[in-house]
Subunit: 337 residues, 2 copies
């Protein structure tokens, strides 16, 4: 199946030196893939030599005179960055040239531009950000990671519908389990919106698991965890913070004296393996769900291998026609009431 993806070469802390080698990895992995490399043509030219001639033939360079900065407010990005690599990549999806856009740029800007250019499907007001979290017994799709705050019960329910479609496509599961993120203190178990969302999920055709707590996310207990974007963003960032703290402590402790430095020689493989298994980059590529099109957000600090994972996520979504499946499912829930 021939698929075409528009890659924002410029976005994020990463630049052409990451996104172009990543493009090469993706082209090697998927025979039917062709890419639009969107960004500053001088910068692209400087790195395009890393691709083989055959790979270069599968790429089209689209020059973008502007760039969305990480500090740009979404409203500014929307109004004043119409010639940016991010905007042009999404325009390529809108115009039917590309099946998906991938960017490591400013999340707020990407959300705003994608929503404005591609529009959301009926029943969805704002797209939700769905990421994959590593876990002891497997990975978990989690949404929303920060696009929607104060989500209503109905919105939480729709996150469940969308997450279920994505987990089914990416994880190749027929009936993914869907759980609601809650807190465990019995007296105050949940807030009103979560309780109402539970009622909606119970009555639905989804494979509703029930409530899970924050620590369950990293067990891989369920396929999809649903939460409000404020809560999801705090959970994501907190977990990144703990992982970074532990890495700092490890760096510090293993360099405390000569013996400890020596000991790293012996434990290097184990330490690297631990880091790789817990690495969020392993599952890089958060999907903006609920749009009339596929947009995948890479982590801002991705390396070429993890940016390639984000492109890979877009390929899977294209092949499974995720936006159409989501639209069908949401429509079903709308007409049923």
């Amino acid at each position: 199946m021939a698929v075409s993806i528009a890659v924002d070469i410029m976005g994020g802390d990463v630049g052409a030196n990451v996104t172009i080698p990543a493009s090469s990895i993706a082209l090697k992995r998927h025979a039917g893939l062709s890419l639009y490399l969107v960004g500053d043509e001088v910068k692209i030219a400087a790195h395009i030599t890393r691709l083989s001639r055959a790979e270069r033939n599968r790429c089209k360079i689209i020059h973008a005179p502007q760039q969305v900065e990480m500090s740009d407010k979404p409203s500014i990005a929307l109004r004043n960055r119409r010639e940016s690599s991010m905007r042009l990549a999404i325009d390529l999806v809108k115009d039917g040239h590309a099946h998906a856009a991938v960017s490591a740029g400013n999340t707020g800007a990407l959300m705003a531009i994608a929503r404005f250019v591609l529009k959301t499907i009926p029943g969805i007001d704002r797209p939700a950000i769905c990421g994959i979290m590593p876990g002891i017994y497997g990975a978990t799709h989690m949404l929303d990671l920060g696009a929607n705050v104060d989500s209503s019960a109905e919105e939480l329910f729709r996150f469940g519908v969308m997450g279920s479609v994505l987990a089914s496509a990416i994880g190749d599961k027929e009936r993914p389990t869907v759980a609601l993120l809650n807190i465990g203190e019995e007296e105050m178990k949940g807030n009103e919106r979560v309780k109402q969302a539970a009622t909606l999920l119970e009555a639905s055709e989804l494979n509703y698991f029930g409530y899970v707590e924050g620590d369950d996310i990293f067990k891989g207990k369920v396929d999809v965890v649903v939460c409000d974007g404020f809560v999801g963003n705090v959970a994501l960032k907190s977990s990144e913070g703990v992982a970074r703290m532990l890495t700092e402590f490890a760096r510090d402790e293993f360099s405390r004296n000569v013996w400890r430095k020596l000991s790293t020689v012996f434990s290097k493989r184990a330490l690297t393996a631990i880091r790789n298994r817990a690495d969020p980059g392993r599952y890089n590529g958060a999907s903006l769900l609920g749009l009339k099109g596929i947009v995948v957000k890479s982590h801002g600090g991705a390396d070429s291998s993890s940016f390639a994972s984000a492109i890979n996520a877009a390929v899977i979504e294209i092949k499974n026609n995720v936006p159409q499946l989501i639209s069908n499912q949401i429509e079903k829930t709308l007409t049923r009431r």
Copy 2:
């Protein structure tokens, strides 16, 4: 200064085999400390021999025929566990015999009983749970960790006032920095309540820092982080989940083959040091703030050294008269409007 603390010997996954050795540690640390050991007298008798005669003379055993179970709903615990170790420990505070109660039991039950027996100070409807999180550059007090959901801006503001008093007493800081937990996506920066709370904090006498994000908690960037209890509980549990996942991965990777097993011999000290620095037990003892009395909640799975930390936290709160200081500060904010 003579201080007296009621210790719930039975609560949590821990029992007398943890809480009694912990009591011994606390008695050694604080010369003026005396304890009420509240629980099943047979179980207490079985472990009391671990205390020296002098230590035993500083303890009074209070027999409790009942126990709050971890599965008890708070309403059940309140109605049907009036002779439990948890309830009797809090009664001792209410009756002026003890200056504080410490328990590793069911959080919801502890909240409900403490609130019913001790009552909250004027201006506070429900107490907030304030814990200490480890961080790269120091520890951070964080509240609320799960007692209040859907907190209003006014409530978030009062969490800031209470957390500031506690951080000042425990951390010995004159003007602790207070931050609001928020999310970083610019367009949707925060929800309405957080934005309004920011306005209240800015106008207050507190040393307001501004917004922080989830990963900042584990940097030790500020002294106090304020958030809604739903959000705080998810952040706490998520971070525990990540730490547990990394520990699992480490256990797994370091036992993968003979060489790796051997390598742990060399890295044991570094690995232990990392675990100790990141150990939540190191800062064990979450305070229930806003009560007319001192109640400290220990982690349910604490060991004797970390349960002793919870008793230690209670001693510091007693010596600094934290409930009175909180009451004064809250009253000030109430009369000012």
